[in-house]
């Protein structure tokens, strides 16, 4: 069965087609929600923000220039919205505190390690990364974004993307080592 491309949907949205908007939303809202949730930490707030993201798409669809994927455009808007929302609240920065809010209610890395569950420890350590590192790891591994696309979403040069990802991995390795998981690198 043929499916309408995201770009074609954006064209229809630009013409005021609400059904196309619903299709685009159905296609992308879960991933956008998870990206925002990892940034802001509160499910209800993340829900409000994704509505705002798609409302921006509704308003700006005629300005979309297919130079990047629609999903990349959505994540860039989502990131901007999430960071703006965080800036509006004093004492709440994009930091490790936010990560704690959505941390798995499981064991601490050390306790999990005692239970020899490397997978759990690794997930725990992923939530303990700084927001900057968490964001880049999510974009590359979960959202499957290329170096160029990450550069567009985060707004940094491609070399910075590669370097940031390298240090995020290194930091993750250090956290794992501290939790007793030795993987041979770094």
């Amino acid at each position: 069965m043929q499916t309408t491309t995201d770009e074609a949907l954006i064209g229809r949205i630009a013409g005021g087609d609400k059904l196309a908007m619903q299709v685009l939303f159905a296609r992308h809202h879960v991933r956008v929600y998870r990206f925002v949730l990892r940034l802001v930490g509160e499910p209800s707030r993340a829900e409000d923000l994704i509505s705002e993201v798609f409302l921006d798409v509704w308003r700006q669809a005629d300005r979309f220039e297919a130079r990047s994927q629609v999903s990349t455009w959505l994540l860039a808007i989502a990131r901007y919205k999430a960071l703006s929302a965080l800036r509006k609240r004093p004492d709440e920065e994009l930091d490790d505190e936010t990560a704690q809010a959505i941390e798995d209610p499981g064991d601490d890395p050390e306790v999990a390690m005692q239970k020899k569950d490397t997978s759990v420890v690794l997930r725990q350590c992923l939530t303990k990364l700084s927001a900057e590192h968490r964001e880049i790891i999510d974009l590359v591994y979960y959202h499957e974004k290329s170096v160029e696309e990450v550069s567009k979403i985060v707004g940094v040069p491609e070399n910075t993307v590669k370097t940031r990802m390298f240090y995020a991995r290194k930091r993750l390795g250090e956290l794992l080592k501290a939790a007793g998981v030795e993987r041979g690198w770094p």
């Binding site: 069965m1 043929q2 499916t3 309408t4 491309t5 074609a8 064209g11 229809r12 630009a14 013409g15 005021g16 087609d17 609400k18 059904l19 908007m21 619903q22 299709v23 939303f25 809202h29 879960v30 929600y33 998870r34 949730l37 990892r38 499910p43 829900e47 409000d48 994704i50 509505s51 798609f54 409302l55 509704w58 308003r59 959505i102 798995d104 490397t118 997978s119 690794l122 997930r123 992923l126 939530t127 790891i137 999510d138 590359v140 591994y141 979960y142 499957e144 974004k145 290329s146 170096v147 590669k162 370097t163 990802m165 390298f166 991995r169 993750l172 390795g173 993987r183 041979g184 690198w185």
Partner: protein, 230 residues
């Protein structure tokens, strides 16, 4: 000395690309470079294994975050309704060119080849119709039917329904549906809704309800409803 430096920087470059190689988002050229390096460098291969573990657990962690409630969609649609830009943008007419271009862009080359054959057939049929009209006119009659409205039928006699087609439905799907149910488009589209003639006479209520239900279950149909008498 320079060669050693170059090799080190080349290795660093490959190391930096490992996450994208694991995620499958590298260009073919870069992916080949990484594959070759992994085959000859055992230490790099160990590092790549850690990258793959990270990838699997990052996906698992994100998938465990759940999904937003229906409230997000409801809020969006309410915001769209209230948005100042909505009223001036909502389509009032159906753009056939846009619809056709949209459909054609989503067809595979094979489908397009079939479509071209169908189009050629349609042209031949049209030529036949034109010739028929010419002969008719010569014989003193100038009767002809358009694709939608037949002049030989009374304006609203029969049973009618309102129908809109699924976005993924092809022209061939719609034609097949029309033939299967012996329907004829008599009006539209208005927005994306057409009026179709289901029967030349009035249908009993139960039969009509059954037919509407049957049509609603067709994949080609997005919406179908009885058209109230005018």
């Amino acid at each position: 000395m320079n060669m050693i430096k170059n090799k080190a920087s080349e290795r660093e470059e490959i190391e930096a690309l490992l996450p994208w190689h694991a995620a499958g988002t590298l260009s073919r050229r870069d992916a080949q470079k990484v594959e070759q390096a992994l085959a000859r460098d055992a230490e790099l291969a160990i590092q790549y294994e850690t990258v793959r573990q990270d990838l699997v657990e990052t996906i698992g962690l994100n998938e465990s975050l759940g999904a937003p409630s229906a409230r997000a969609m409801q809020k969006l649609m309410a915001d769209i309704e209230a948005d100042a830009s909505t009223a001036r943008r909502v389509k009032t007419s159906f753009n056939l060119g846009e619809w056709l271009s949209d459909k054609l862009s989503s067809f595979s080359p094979r489908t397009l080849a079939w479509s071209a054959t169908a189009a050629a057939l349609a042209i031949v049929l049209q030529a036949g119709l034109l010739a028929g009209m010419f002969v008719n006119e010569k014989q003193g009659g100038a009767l002809f039917d358009t694709a939608s409205i037949s002049r030989s039928e009374p304006a609203m006699a029969g049973t009618y329904a309102l129908i809109s087609f699924a976005p993924q439905a092809s022209a061939a799907d719609i034609t097949k549906l029309m033939q299967t149910y012996n329907m004829k488009i008599v009006e539209g589209p208005s927005g994306e809704v057409f009026t179709v003639k289901l029967a030349v006479t009035g249908m009993p209520k139960e039969d009509l309800a059954r037919l509407i239900k049957q049509l609603q279950d067709e994949k080609t149909v997005r919406f179908v409803g009885q058209k109230s008498a005018e």
